[in-house]
């Protein structure tokens, strides 16, 4: 199976490079670029990248290397895209969809070594990289801001293993007919596990905030003081501020650190109908930004049905008290209540994260969690519809093996140990 990873640091930059190695990498590339031609060896070429629905989302430059003349010794594709984390994860997601998997840490180098692309004396340094791989899950867990991904995953694993043990006991030892109790109890446990896993998968977006930054967008009617707020928050003069409506014609963005959370702060053009084609294009992008934002700082009165990830801000407290319902009242111009706003932004961003105990921060973890979820759901279907306990066990074992990749290895004996310690075995 080919593997893929982003080779440049996560976060916003000019460009990012996604590398893909393995037999199928060329065919995956063809699917993303909708191109039928075989690229030339070691030549950079411009393409358009399309998502799975066929919509283009970025212009990319691709350099292809054919085996064995590549870094890894396999077919290798290097995609340079724009350095937006959204674009990078889109490309990774598409590669996975078309049959790649996310690379293990150090895998490119390891593959290069195994294929004899490196000097033998480098063995020791390579083995260091390989060592990093096995504790990857634990390491990431330790880094995790919510504190201990690996422990939480272990809890889930313990539940799955004990559920599996109950099933195995029934298959391997009891000789009894199916007991309704077993089915009911296991269904309860599985239901709970599916919920937990589901919310863990959902946290990916919000917890990836800590890795690739939250997108916070300032919106509001023209002349509401969006750019002033932007500048105040950024503390620089990057955005142009004038009195003429529609001056900010495109999205201006800047990375800032708000109470340890990296934030991509974006100033949008005022959303209004305009005949100016340049401004219209800007408005389109603004809408797009609003839809994908983690948080919107909206300089408008709170509507009857306020949106979930919106903060409604009154920005003219220097001109008098607000005449409607707002979440907070500030003055960007006079820098009044700005710290309070900053605290509110960070607590809102963190708040949306508290939906699950398990925080997932990388695409690798996300894919594993999705696999866990799928197996658990299938197990539940088998358990509730056709009583095929051996298929339930099959799916649960798969779930355990995916969880193992996030933590540590479970062996068949571990399952049997649970069987012997929790059930009275023997006729």
């Amino acid at each position: 199976m080919s593997f893929v990873a982003c080779s440049t640091p996560l976060g916003t930059g000019g460009i990012a490079v996604v590398r893909m190695s393995g037999k199928s990498s060329i065919s995956v590339l063809k699917k993303i670029t909708k191109s039928k031609r075989v690229p030339k060896h070691s030549v950079a070429k411009k393409y358009t990248a399309y998502d799975s629905r066929g919509d283009s989302f970025d212009n990319i430059v691709v350099t292809t290397f054919f085996a064995p003349k590549s870094y890894t010794g396999e077919d290798l594709v290097e995609i340079s895209c724009h350095g937006n984390p959204v674009i990078v994860s889109k490309i990774l997601e598409l590669c996975c969809l078309y049959g790649c998997r996310i690379a293990d840490p150090g895998e490119f180098t390891k593959t290069a070594f195994l294929n004899g692309k490196m000097d033998i004396s480098e063995a020791e340094s390579v083995s260091d990289i390989i060592h990093a791989k096995s504790i990857d899950g634990v390491k990431l867990g330790a880094k995790n801001l919510s504190g201990g991904l690996s422990k939480k995953v272990k809890d889930v694993k313990t539940s799955v293993v004990s559920c599996l043990a109950a099933i195995e006991f029934n298959l391997d030892i009891s000789e009894e007919e199916l007991q309704p109790n077993l089915i009911k109890n296991s269904l309860d446990v599985l239901g709970d596990l599916v919920l937990k896993t589901k919310s863990a998968v959902k946290t990916f977006k919000s917890s990836s905030i800590f890795v690739s930054g939250a997108s916070v967008v300032i919106s509001g009617p023209p002349n509401a003081g969006k750019s002033t707020l932007f500048n105040t928050l950024v503390g620089t003069n990057r955005a142009i501020v004038t009195e003429i409506p529609g001056t900010t014609r495109d999205v201006v963005e800047k990375e800032i650190l708000v109470n340890t959370i990296p934030i991509n702060l974006k100033d949008t053009a005022g959303i209004r109908l305009s005949k100016d084609p340049v401004e219209s294009a800007g408005i389109e992008r603004s809408k797009e930004e609003l839809n994908t934002a983690d948080l919107v700082l909206c300089l408008e009165e709170k509507p009857k049905k306020p949106k979930k990830n919106y903060l409604y801000i009154y920005n003219k407290s220097d001109l008098g008290p607000p005449s409607g319902d707002f979440d907070i009242s500030i003055s960007a111009k006079k820098e009044k209540n700005i710290q309070k706003l900053i605290n509110m932004v960070s607590s809102t961003l963190l708040d949306t994260n508290s939906t699950s105990d398990i925080q997932i921060t990388t695409t690798r973890q996300l894919n594993l969690m999705k696999d866990v979820l799928l197996s658990l759901q299938k197990a539940r279907v088998h358990l509730s519809t056709d009583f095929s306990l051996e298929l339930v066990a099959e799916e649960l074992s798969r779930a355990v093996s995916f969880l193992d990749m996030l933590t540590e290895k479970t062996t068949k004996d571990d399952v049997l140990n649970v069987v012997f310690s929790s059930f009275c075995v023997g006729k």
Partner: protein, 631 residues
């Protein structure tokens, strides 16, 4: 008694289930084989429960059968009751089990052996002669020497066997049978390391001292399935077993007398099997259970001797009897003999190759309880493989090594040589990661190719099985390629409460539904291909084709996984590989690699506690060695 000659190809030591299989297959493969047993009259004895097969074990008996073994075939001749366990669950875990007539089984085995080319001799082997780490003969207790090129040791529980009944200790191999001494010491001097294990057996009681009307009878299946593909017209008796239950009084009596149990007093230090706990273990560890089932099983036809399944114990005879008498229906029970625990020597099986040949001594094979396993079927499986590979060793031909996805027998050997046993090893279906493929119903599909290659079965049997397999595959492709229209089947679907189909689809996709079967096609005009309904195995063919289709999604996924890891299974680690040369290996892994000396990267990865990173490092170094050699 036949006299022995001076020289044989193979000497098999021990006449239990492992020894019988090893000796017979070697003789059948044309090797001059001698079976030595301490007591010829006990050859083929079933020392514990009167049943063959069962969960995971039934699958193994069928595998043994396809590979030319005899256990299932003999059991079919002595069946008192036949039942497929787990029938309410999926087909991959269906496991046939037969209650058998133990006396008849011994007779059948001994008669068959007497009519075979095998030589049998009553005597006690005390040591193995070797020359330059190669087997060259055995030495008997009376100092006679017998030359041979290969030895298969199947000594069961006889090596320094010690029986415990409460505080009473008896030197014995089985109740009333002498133990064997010398072989352990001999192997240790050859560099082997030995350990001690414990197993137990329940009391045997007198039939006429039980109030049978108070027990709950259990019968076999109305459509029994034989354990052997070679058995025709299988119409066994259906003698019931009876369940009784222990109660509060039984439990408190056991707890009061725990100190009389050899296991609890500390007299027995070796580990016993957790899956077959003694009654004192069950009562002590699961004190919340108000009652445990005791199943009373006849040991032979019209047997006066009854086996009390579920009451394995090392309590003193007096306490055993008192406890049993608290059970409703057993108030007046009398013993033929008490239950007991037995401790015996075994050799850590990590000292064996995947052929069951020892790594230290060429031509020396070990099989059965001597390798730390438990169970007739586990013994028989190993005996058969050891017999085949001992023969291949002498013929200087490739050995038979089954993969984990071939058979439970493959799982068994692989687990044995790679895992450290601290309790007697018993097979469970959950030990097999490819359980869905290892069904009792498809042992022939999985293993016939080996029987053909190694000439383990007669040609006629092979032809019949090959035809059955061919017909099954034909039926599967027919069902995959035949379309069915809504108007052909929707009536039937309604009748069996299945949702109707909206457009034409392949018949196989209907069969993938959990509750749709080939028989449901009867009302349609879709006839099965010619030659299926009138084949002698038509029932099995239809059953198996259905199963293949129902599991196909899962099996295909597993096949992909198997392909992925196949490359590791074929990556050989040189026997003299120097693990100390790799500094980056973790110490724990290095020690394990050095002790177990895995033969392939695949094996290395399955050793307990080995980190994936260590396997990667090993690969890197092997690649390096390989590169260097190529240059």
């Amino acid at each position: 008694m036949k006299r022995h000659k001076e020289k044989y190809d193979i000497v098999v030591v021990g006449g239990g289930h492992a020894g019988v299989e090893a000796a017979l297959i070697s003789a059948n493969l044309g090797l001059d084989t001698l079976l030595i047993s301490m007591d010829e009259k006990s050859i083929g004895r079933t020392s514990c429960n009167p049943a063959i097969g069962g969960l995971a074990k039934g699958q193994m008996v069928k595998e043994v059968d396809v590979l030319g073994g005899v256990m299932g075939f003999f059991a079919d001749k002595c069946t008192l009751q036949s039942k497929t366990l787990n029938k309410s669950k999926g087909r991959s875990v269906w496991s046939p089990r037969s209650q058998i007539d133990k006396l008849k089984y011994e007779t059948v085995v001994q008669e068959h052996l007497a009519s075979s080319k095998l030589n049998i001799f009553g005597g006690e082997v005390v040591s193995i002669d070797t020359k330059k780490n190669k087997v060259c003969g055995v030495l008997l207790k009376d100092k006679t020497k017998i030359k041979c090129r290969s030895v298969v040791l199947t000594c069961g529980t006889f090596l320094n066997g010690l029986i415990h009944i409460g505080e009473k200790k008896i030197n014995a191999g089985r109740y009333g049978e002498k133990r064997s001494e010398g072989i352990t010491e001999c192997l240790i001097s050859l560099g082997f390391s030995a350990g001690r294990l414990k197993t137990g057996t329940p009391p045997r009681i007198k039939k006429n001292t039980v109030s049978w009307d108070l027990g709950d009878p259990g019968f076999g299946d109305s459509d029994p399935i034989p354990l052997s593909y070679r058995t025709k017209d299988f119409k066994p008796k259906d003698e019931p077993c009876f369940s009784f239950r222990t109660n509060k009084d039984t439990h408190s009596l056991i707890l009061e007398n725990l100190s009389s149990s050899a296991m609890y007093s500390g007299d027995v230090k070796s580990a016993g099997p957790r899956y077959c706990p003694s009654i004192e273990d069950k009562v002590y560890k699961f004190s919340k259970n108000p009652s445990h089932v005791l199943q009373l099983e006849p040991e032979w036809t019209n047997s006066d001797q009854i086996y009390v399944n579920g009451f394995s114990t090392s309590l003193s005879e007096e306490v055993q009897l008192k406890c049993l008498r608290t059970v409703s229906g057993l108030e007046k029970v009398e013993f033929i003999r008490p239950g007991y625990a037995i401790e015996y020597d075994f050799f850590f099986p990590s000292q064996l190759k995947n052929t069951l040949e020892s790594k230290a001594v060429d031509g020396l094979f070990l099989a059965g309880q001597i390798n730390g396993t438990s169970g007739y079927e586990e013994a028989s499986s190993q005996g058969l493989l050891a017999g085949i590979n001992s023969s291949m060793y002498i013929k200087n031909e490739n050995p038979l090594v089954l993969k984990r996805n071939d058979a439970y027998m493959g799982v068994l050997v692989d687990d044995l040589i790679l895992k450290d046993t601290n309790e007697p090893y018993r097979m469970f279906t959950s030990r097999a990661e490819y359980r869905l493929q290892l069904r009792s119903s498809n042992a022939d599909q999985r293993l016939l190719k080996y029987s053909e290659d190694f000439k383990l079965l007669d040609k006629k049997t092979i032809d019949i099985l090959a035809e059955k397999i061919q017909k099954t595959n034909d039926l599967v492709s027919f069902l995959k390629n035949t379309s069915i229209k809504p108007e052909q089947i929707n009536k039937t679907l309604k009748k069996i409460k299945e949702s109707p189909i909206k457009e034409s689809l392949k018949v196989s996709s209907l069969i993938k539904r959990p509750t749709f079967f080939i028989k449901d096609l009867k009302k349609t005009n879709i006839g099965l291909p010619e030659g299926i309904n009138n084949n002698i195995n038509s029932k099995e063919i239809i059953f198996e084709a259905e199963t293949i289709i129902k599991y196909s999604g899962y099996i295909n996924r597993q096949k992909d996984e198997i392909d992925k890891i196949a490359v590791y299974e074929n990556k050989i680690i040189p026997e003299d590989f120097n693990y100390d040369s790799i500094k980056s290996l973790s110490n724990e892994s290095r020690e394990k690699f050095k002790r177990i000396r895995p033969q392939t990267i695949g094996q290395a990865g399955r050793i307990d506690g080995i980190r994936p990173s260590d396997i990667s490092i090993l690969l890197v170094y092997l690649k390096r060695t390989f590169h260097v050699k190529q240059k």
